[in-house]
Amino acid sequence: MSVNTAMIEKYRNDFLKEVEENVEEGHWVKMCMQCGVCSGSCPFGPHWEHPPQEIFMMIRAGKRDEVLGSESMWMCTSCYNCIVRCPRELPITHIMHGLANYAHRLGLAPKMNPTRRFAKIFWDNIAKTGRVNELGLSLNLYFMDGFGSGVKKATAMAGVGVGMLRTKRLNPFALVRHKGVQNPKEFQSLLKKAKEVEDRRKGLAG
């Protein structure tokens, strides 16, 4: 490889293209003019490793591993401040979720990221019967970091739990018997169909 082609390879930006093709709303990334209003407007701003406008620049700079392995886009709380203020109307919130979803699909998302783990627990829970099993969800969430911390968290939340029991918001027997949707078979085939449609749209079919 000559020096020239080596340099071309070094600076070839496949990652922007990859994002455009695979990430939901990813085609907007190239429209960013780096004004910084999104980063300045984010209520979680100081806690992000890379705020949105920095992530857009990193995508354009081809920093694939740093972006997809980042905790940053998992920080988004969907407050929509950035979308409202972006002078170029980039759907920044959606791009953040799109990037997180893409990283997760590729298995590159940080394994221990709490947002990702909660999302996974929530999905597995609701996808089983079509209705959230509150008891199962809370216990899974509290005990996701081990038994000791689980007991601690559950004890701290006991008051809320009792309140929910009293107002019949929590079924104490849900671990034994949880009432799902009326037609679970139809619900499962609906999910399957939705996944097919999504995969086809994102070019993941087959």
């Binding site: 910084g36 209003v37 980063s39 705020p51």
Partner: protein
């Protein structure tokens, strides 16, 4: 007033700002008959509201004086003030334009002695100073007004104040029974030079122009520098009248933003760079005086680059590459806090300033599609060249966001196009 004689060889110029004045004078000095109509009581437009021009930092009044001399010397231009176009009928080479003239209540006998203003007690907001100041309801629009003639606000044209003003006038110049007039003017070509207005800063919600007294617009800041302006030529905070030393400038306030104006207003970068030099002028070497310019990118093109370099070298001026996210204020001191991220290094800031100046964008005073139903405009409402426009030619800021220099060039170009039309009309009649 009504003795304006117009034929289809007459050129009608709508708007008496720097573009309209230029177009009217250039066409008249080429031997064409021109009627210049202006909505306000005085010609001069927004240029007369400027303290200094960029990049030479000279006063606009001297160039205006030359233009007014040309205007006085030229018998081919008829100036109608307080006049507005109501409708346009006909086609290129043969237009009939309906014009409505608001009553001034002061006739041509006025010597602008000011005796009427002395006896009138009612006060009104001064539009020349963006309503930052009160003036008597019998007033001269501003010191450089042309024509130099007083105006009576309709609110005092009643039995008491009006009669008092009339009695005070030694020249029989006040006519309280003056009525609105409707004219029909013939014209071969129309030069549309209605200029621009500052974007409504209150619409930029995160910047709090409508909530925080110490957030002002660039046009208001410009008026503060005028010795005859609302603050007597000093940079005083609207909240407490104290001198503002630590001043923030926010660029692209409304411009280049799909939520507001899509276009780049072109003048704001240079206007802010110019206004940052006012600190040196006002405070000399006082090290506390500091301008901070928050920008996305500085668009100082061609020869303006030199001006930009000079300002960059000024220790009083600091540049922060960032579109400010939002502004909050201290409820007791009314200091303003600017929040955002400096994209050079991604540093989060939370900066305190005495005063914040929004470099507001430019939008056309009259949108192209409002003119005659078939005048072509771009997405922002600026007039575009189009066959369907017939002989209606956009000039100056009615056609684009332009600085004074380019507005004058645009007006001269429009003058030439209008002359071609009336020459054709004249040829056809021979």
């Amino acid at each position: 007033m009504t003795d304006a004689v117009a034929t289809n060889e007459t050129i009608l110029v709508v708007g008496g700002g720097i573009s309209g004045l230029t177009a009217a004078l250039e066409t008249a000095e080429c031997g064409k008959n021109v009627i210049l109509i202006e909505k306000n009581p005085s010609v001069g437009g927004r240029v007369s509201q400027l303290y200094k021009y960029f990049p030479k930092l000279c006063r606009p009044s001297c160039g205006q004086e030359i233009n007014y001399r040309r205007l006085k010397a030229n018998k081919r231009v008829r100036v109608l003030t307080m006049a507005e176009v109501v409708n346009i009928k006909g086609a290129a080479g043969d237009y009939t334009v309906g014009v409505s003239i608001r009553p001034r209540y002061v006739n041509e006998n006025c010597t602008s002695c000011g005796a009427c203003a002395e006896v009138v007690s009612a006060e009104i907001d001064d539009p020349f100073n963006y309503n930052m100041k009160k003036i008597k309801a019998a007033y001269l629009p501003h010191n450089m007004a042309y024509p130099q003639r007083y105006v009576l606000d309709p609110s005092i044209v009643g039995p008491e104040e009006g009669e008092r003003a009339k009695a005070a006038c030694k020249y029989d110049a006040i006519e309280l029974d003056m009525q609105e007039q409707a004219l029909e003017l013939k014209a071969g070509a129309i030069i549309w030079a209605t200029g621009w207005k500052p974007y409504d800063a209150a619409k930029i919600q995160p910047y709090g122009y409508d909530r925080f007294p110490n957030v002002v617009t660039s046009v208001e800041f410009e008026r503060m520098m005028d010795p005859f302006g609302p603050t007597g030529g000093r940079m005083l905070r609207p909240s407490d009248g104290k001198e503002a030393r630590n001043i923030a400038f926010i660029q692209c306030a409304g411009s280049r933003d799909r939520n507001h104006l899509k276009h780049c207003s072109r003048i704001c970068c240079m206007a802010t760079l110019k206004q940052s030099t006012y600190l040196q002028e006002q405070y000399g070497d006082d090290s506390e005086a500091q301008a901070t310019i928050y920008y996305i990118d500085i668009r100082a093109i061609d020869r303006f680059e030199d001006f930009y370099k000079k300002v960059q070298a000024d220790p009083k001026v600091r540049f922060v590459k960032s579109k400010v996210a939002n502004i909050t204020e201290d409820r007791d001191t009314h200091d303003v806090f600017l929040h955002g991220v400096n994209t050079e290094g991604y540093h989060r800031y939370d900066n305190t300033h005495d005063l914040c100046v929004l470099a507001v964008g430019m939008e056309p005073s009259v949108r192209a599609e409002q003119i005659n139903g078939n005048v072509a405009g771009d997405a922002s409402g600026f007039i575009e060249m189009h066959e369907a426009n017939g002989a209606i030619f956009g000039a100056g800021c009615a056609s684009n966001a332009l600085d004074v220099n380019r507005a004058v060039q645009s007006a001269t170009a429009a003058a030439l196009r209008a002359i071609q039309v009336v020459n054709r009309v004249a040829g056809a009649e021979v």
